[in-house]
Amino acid sequence: MSDAIDLGLGLVDHQLIDSEGRRCGKVDDLELTGIQEGRLQVAEILVGRRGAVHVPWEEVAKVDSGVHLKRTAAELRLGRGDVRARKLVAWIPGAQ
């Protein structure tokens, strides 16, 4: 894949994957800066619809069909719905 990517097609709505290979949300929106200065740049990835989690672009390790992050989901406060749902299944024998 070349250096240039189409933000709409190649980034927005793509899968986020943390440093341990876990899926942890989608790129729901992007925050761009430097519009007035003429040096447009992706500053943050927004994850979630309301009360979105902001992931600074510096945390991105690699972009292919997914967006790979440098740290774990827990460190970036992503995938928190799994923490709640885990309680629902953890008690069943064989869940661990």
Binding site: V12, D13, Q15, R23, G79, G81, D82, A85, G94
Partner: protein, 408 residues
């Protein structure tokens, strides 16, 4: 040698996995109503599912993204959400129909009250999904489902007029009952292409850790597996065309379908047929439960996969459990499972374009797929079948109303 063995195993699973309650209902009903006249439509339906399964499997192998990922990426959140909701409604109707089908088959085998068997069916499915690894689930149900091949033997023994069978494979439109004929044509294509098949197939490629080295396996699985599944569909229609059509019998229950194996082959035929139906439909119930969970997880980006421990993909785990419970709640109300099946198939046709279009777009994206992007053949078939799907998705609801759901 090991490779060939592996391919054979996968294909066998695909044959058993293709035929579900929708295929059984529509192929048998079409045979009873029109004899062999609609056989050619089965070929079209199988061609469509082969084309799109191969495509979405290839996308999954190359990009590690399944169908609902592609839907979200290509259609965006809002339109994608429409596709998700439509797909999930159809998945719900489908799983309800499959669970009902399991209970009907169990009832014919064991004779307990229907609602008791529904509970047993759902508990059994839940335990199997929980306890068995992905590959085993697919294979156990696929292989035992192969006993449905008894319908092919039954069709042979009923000694149909092979000239009429052969002419059934030539596309044509009858001079009367055109609307009813068209309704069954839509239903047959819908039954062959129910959306959970591509959701499940693409996610399954990731579950089984296929890599680009397995692209040949993907192609063989899709082409041979689904074609042989289509062979089974044709066998059901030929059986019904030879047995029910001349006698004017309209099969209204699964028991009548079993009769199709019992009349030519006796008690053994009946038992084999019911076991085959039980496992084929049971496998489809699991596929559609997983599909429901895959879809939501993929749309919102949650961790998913049976290859993960349940605590490591908890929302996915809750998802398939919720599908089983929801399917159970629908059939336990007392609705006729056969009717639920008919609705699930007809509505699935309406929802299909929003699933197939994103697959076709992603499979053509060279930035995404590199040298594995669609070639000319995949696109000729892909666009051709998409055109067919678009036409029938527009025609499905009007035909359902005009023909009073195939009652004429």
């Amino acid at each position: 040698m090991k490779k060939i063995f592996e391919i054979a195993l996968g294909i066998l699973a695909a044959i058993g996995g293709f035929v579900d309650i929708g295929d059984i209902v529509f192929n048998v009903a079409a045979g009873a109503m029109f004899g062999f006249e609609l056989l050619w439509v089965v070929v079209i339906g199988v061609g469509a599912i082969v084309t799109y399964s191969e495509m979405c499997g290839r996308v999954a192998v190359v990009s590690q993204r399944a169908v609902m990922d592609a839907v979200r990426e290509r259609l965006g959140y809002r339109v994608g959400l429409v596709s998700l909701v439509a797909g999930q409604l159809v998945n719900l109707l489908t799983i309800a129909a499959e669970i009902g089908g399991i209970a009907l088959a169990l009832q014919l085998l064991a004779g307990l009250p229907f609602r008791v068997l529904l509970v047993l069916a759902v508990l059994g499915l839940g335990i199997v999904i929980w306890a068995l690894p992905f590959e085993w689930i697919e294979r156990v149900f696929g292989y035992v489902g192969l006993t449905m091949l008894v319908f092919a033997v039954a069709a042979l023994k009923l000694n149909p007029n092979w000239n009429s069978v052969a002419s059934g494979f030539v596309p044509h439109v009858p001079s009367q009952d055109v609307a009813l004929y068209a309704f069954f044509a839509v239903g047959l294509i819908g039954a062959a292409t129910v959306p959970y098949e591509v959701y499940f197939y693409s996610s399954g490629a990731i579950e089984e850790r296929w890599t680009p080295k397995d692209l040949g396996l993907n192609k063989a699985n899709a082409i041979i597996g689904y074609s042989l599944g289509g062979f089974l569909s044709c066998a059901l229609m030929i059986m019904a065309g030879a047995l029910f059509y001349p006698r004017g019998i309209t099969p209204e229950s699964l028991g009548t379908v079993g009769l199709g194996a019992e009349v030519p082959l006796g008690q053994v035929g009946l038992v084999l047929a019911l076991i085959g139906v039980l496992f084929a439909v049971g496998g489809a119930a699991i596929d559609s439960a997983f599909s429901g969970a895959y879809n939501v997880a993929q749309f919102f980006g949650w961790e998913w996969g049976k290859y993960r421990r349940p605590v490591d993909a908890p929302r996915f785990t809750v998802g398939w459990m919720a599908m089983l419970v929801a399917g159970f709640l629908i059939v336990v109300t007392g609705v006729d499972p056969i009717q639920v099946t008919e609705y699930s198939v007809i509505f699935s046709v309406v929802a299909l374009p929003l699933t197939y279009v994103p697959i076709l777009l992603v499979a053509n994206d060279r930035a995404y797929m590199g040298r594995h992007a669609n070639g000319r053949i995949a696109n000729v078939f892909g666009i051709g079948y998409l055109a067919v799907i678009l036409v029938i998705s527009v025609a499905a609801i009007p035909l359902m109303i005009i023909t009073n759901m195939g009652q004429g």
